[in-house]
């Protein structure tokens, strides 16, 4: 077992643990904290995949912005004060569906005959990717920024509340 593999299994284990924590814990704030853990671990996976830039983006956006947002909403919606159970009545079915999906997905991943070299990571030069992003993908990029803008305004409008409230 190479050290890379060791790191991989460690990071993967943290990711899975974090994810499980998100969906299983009885405390919503813990759940959010587990989410941060999982997101950071995923950033580690990105580094293992030699996508350092994405790992940074991941930490900045997810680890920072998104999680903070979620925590704020939890606070605003007073989730912790809710007396009811966090899980719905269809939990067994959810487990079943998730399990079935897992089986299928893993089967598909293992049985597929992937084209090209599946053992070797080719490091993608950072610079080339940036050029591609701003040259070949310029229009989608701009559209995405527009989407962000609209979402931003939409979120403000939605969250602002009624006049005089």
């Amino acid at each position: 077992m190479s050290y890379e593999e060791v790191i991989f299994y460690f990071v993967a284990a943290v990711t899975v643990l974090g994810a499980l924590g998100v969906v299983l814990t009885r405390n919503v704030v813990h759940s959010a904290l587990f989410l941060i853990l999982a997101l950071l671990a995923v950033a580690g996976v990105f580094i293992l995949l030699s996508a350092e830039f994405l790992a940074i983006v991941q930490i900045l956006i997810y680890g920072g912005a998104v999680t903070i947002l979620i925590l704020f909403v939890m606070m605003l919606t007073r989730v912790r004060d809710m007396p009811q159970a966090l899980d719905g009545p269809q939990r067994p079915f959810a487990a079943l569906a998730a399990g079935a999906f897992l089986v299928l997905s893993v089967l598909a991943a293992l049985s597929s005959d992937w084209p090209g070299e599946t053992r070797e990571i080719t490091v993608v030069p950072f610079r080339e990717m940036g050029e591609a992003l701003f040259r070949d993908w310029a229009v989608p990029f701009e559209v995405a920024s527009l989407v962000l803008l609209v979402a931003l305004i939409g979120a403000i409008v939605l969250a602002r509340g009624e006049e005089g409230e």
Binding site: Q90, A97, F101, L104, L107, A108
Partner: protein
């Protein structure tokens, strides 16, 4: 020189007058009555032109009439099918006789109407409608093909509808108009079927071509018999024969001049004219067709004559006498004698118009038409009484009035070609006719007035109404003499009417004394009987009525025909309509349509419980779907 080729002008002129009156009538002085009368007078003059032209031709061998026509609709097709409708006009002796009656009587009635209808608010419309009727009637007379004939046939029916319902604000008039139109239309269904049946084999609507086709044996006997019986159904409706006679008495709701024109002299004889015109087909068809005509005619004669005995409305009595006359003509046709029928038609046109117009004068003067309200009017209205008496005597068949000669001719041919039962019944009808004509004269003009106030104001009508009466009375006296060959020759005809209008060969005038004596005796017996029963207090009549109470009741209720029809309409026809409408709404619509829609709704109602509205359920469904798809996909790939 205007001649037979221009015969189409005769209906065209009144038609043009109708259109002008309809469009600008109300802006014309006197609301255009002069236009209608002028048009009719022009048609009358044209009739003479046509007649003179015809007389020049009629002596020639093989003369069968003159056709002038224009194409109306036609299509020739590559597949060889040809379909042609023509506006064609045909003039022969038969048509000319009819033209004489129609143009003259219409003219008289129009002149009379200027007085009779003077104060009516719809005066202009009246003349427009009469012009329209006249145009259709003349087109019917002159039509050379079945299609134009049918069109004109419906046209006169429509004219009659308009004129019967002229005072449509009266409920009874509106109902009578409707009844007349629908009843005659039932006959017209037969007419149209008959026409199409004839066309189906012959491939033409032209009447003379169909004659040739039939005489060449183109139709099988059974087929032709069926077809002509359907045609006869049209005549039954229009000529008010049993069992479709019920509309004619009710049609008396129209203005009296209209009754004189349409329901005495012209339209109602169209059925007779139709059968006469189509006689060559009846000859080829099975004799049973002729027997049916005779039977229908005879039934009509007996029923109408007896009903005439008890009718209490002045106009209705005359209406029954009209039905009576029409039945006689049908019997004549059933005996294969076109000349007898046409002679009667010719004479009848004048004396029946006379009777109606005279009755109109009475009604105009007294505003009453129930016989019980009338009486003693001879003192107040001598001229009217005199001409009415002339008409009544003619109807009763008294020498030497037109009615006598015409009726005698019919009795002659019936005696020659039918069995003694028919002959006996006809003789009996002569007696009854004389009886009720006497009755109506006595109750109207003699005796004591029933309504004194009305009697006070009564007086002879103004000259414009009296003049037509006198002219018609003159013709009633003279018209019968056309039977004599000498008279005909003097006028430029080949001879008497038998030499002029005939089916197979000219018939010289013959005068069997036995028939004449017998019929005169019957008629005189009727006269005497009438005076016995109804003069003075009419005590014998009342006693007779009580003695034969059931019979009297049946007659009063018009043989229950109206009741039967009314029952049929209410209980069968309208009920069927109601049932069908109910069926349509409740079974077809509410069960069939809404029911199937309801199934959909029900299914939807059941399905809606699958929709919980809870997002997690939907999400689970989505995931399940994805999983199933994935399984399917993988299974297929493997």
């Amino acid at each position: 020189m205007v001649g037979m080729g221009e015969a189409w002008l005769i209906p065209a002129i009144p038609a043009a007058a109708f259109v002008i009156l309809l469009l600008v009538g109300k802006y014309l002085p006197r609301r255009g009555d002069w236009l209608a009368i002028g048009a009719m007078a022009a048609a009358f003059v044209l009739f003479f032109a046509v007649l003179i032209d015809l007389l020049g031709e009629v002596g020639k061998p093989d003369f069968v009439g003159v056709t002038s026509s224009i194409e109306w609709v036609r299509f020739d097709l590559p597949s060889g099918l040809e379909f042609e409708l023509r506006l064609g006009f045909f003039v022969d002796q038969l048509a000319v006789v009819m033209l004489a009656v129609v143009t003259f009587v219409t003219l008289m009635v129009m002149v009379y109407s200027t007085g009779y209808m003077k104060d009516d608010p719809r005066y202009g419309w009246y003349f427009a409608a009469i012009s329209m009727f006249a145009a259709a009637m003349l087109a019917l007379v002159l039509a050379d093909n079945f299609l134009l004939l049918y069109a004109a046939w419906e046209g006169v029916g429509f004219g009659s509808y308009l004129l019967i319902g002229f005072w449509h604000e009266k409920r009874s008039a509106a109902e009578a108009a409707k009844k007349a139109f629908i009843t005659t239309r039932i006959g017209d269904v037969g007419l149209l079927i008959g026409i199409i049946l004839l066309w189906r084999e012959a491939g033409t609507f032209d009447i003379s071509e169909i004659f040739e086709f039939a005489e060449a044996g183109g139709y099988s006997t059974a087929y032709l018999t069926t077809a002509v019986l359907f045609l006869f159904a049209g005549a039954v409706g229009k000529s008010a024969q049993f069992p479709l006679h019920v509309w004619l008495p009710d049609a008396m709701e129209g203005p009296t001049p209209v009754s004189a024109l349409i329901h005495a002299a012209t339209m109602v004889v169209a059925g007779v004219y139709l059968v006469a015109r189509l006689m060559p087909l009846f000859v080829v068809a099975d004799p049973i067709a002729l027997n049916i005509i005779t039977a229908v005619g005879l039934t009509t004669v007996m029923m109408s004559a007896t009903m005439g005995l008890v009718a209490t409305d002045l106009k209705r009595v005359i209406a029954y006498s009209t039905i009576n006359s029409l039945g006689l003509m049908m019997v004549a046709l059933g005996s294969l004698s076109v000349s007898a029928a046409m002679l009667y038609l010719f004479a009848h046109g004048f004396f029946k118009a006379l009777l109606f117009l005279a009755a109109g004068s009475v009604i105009h003067a007294t505003d009453r038409q129930e016989l019980s309200d009338l009486g003693g009017l001879a003192r107040r209205m001598p001229v009217t009484a005199a001409v009415f008496a002339v008409g009544a005597l003619s109807m009763a068949g008294i020498v030497p009035l037109a009615g006598f000669w015409a009726k005698d001719e019919i009795l002659n041919v019936v005696g020659d070609s039918q069995n003694f039962v028919v002959y006996g019944f006809l003789m009996l009808s002569v007696f009854i006719t004389a009886l009720y004509m006497t009755r109506v004269v006595i109750l109207t003009f003699l005796g004591e007035p029933g309504d004194r106030e009305a009697h006070q104001h009564a007086h002879d009508a103004e000259p414009v109404m009296t003049l037509p009466l006198l002219l018609l009375a003159g013709l009633t006296v003279l018209a019968g003499f056309v039977v004599f060959d000498g008279v005909g020759e003097a006028l430029g005809f080949p001879g008497g009417i038998g030499e002029f209008v005939f089916l197979e060969g000219p018939e010289a005038f013959h005068f069997p004394w036995d028939v004449a004596v017998l019929s005169t005796l019957s008629a005189v017996a009727g006269l005497v009987g009438g005076f016995y029963f109804w003069s003075g207090e009419a005590e014998p009549a009342r006693r007779a009525g009580e003695l034969f109470r059931p019979a009297y009741k049946i007659l009063k209720r018009k043989f229950y025909m109206d009741d039967i029809y009314q029952w049929t309409i209410d209980r069968v026809v309208l009920a069927a309509g109601g049932v069908l409408a109910w069926f349509d709404r409740n079974v077809v619509n509410d069960t069939g349509v809404d029911g199937s829609a309801g199934l959909g709704v029900l299914a939807g109602y059941g399905m809606k419980f699958l929709e919980t509205g809870k997002l997690p359920n939907y999400a689970l469904a989505i995931v399940t779907g994805v999983i199933v798809l994935a399984i399917v996909f993988m299974a297929v790939r493997v």
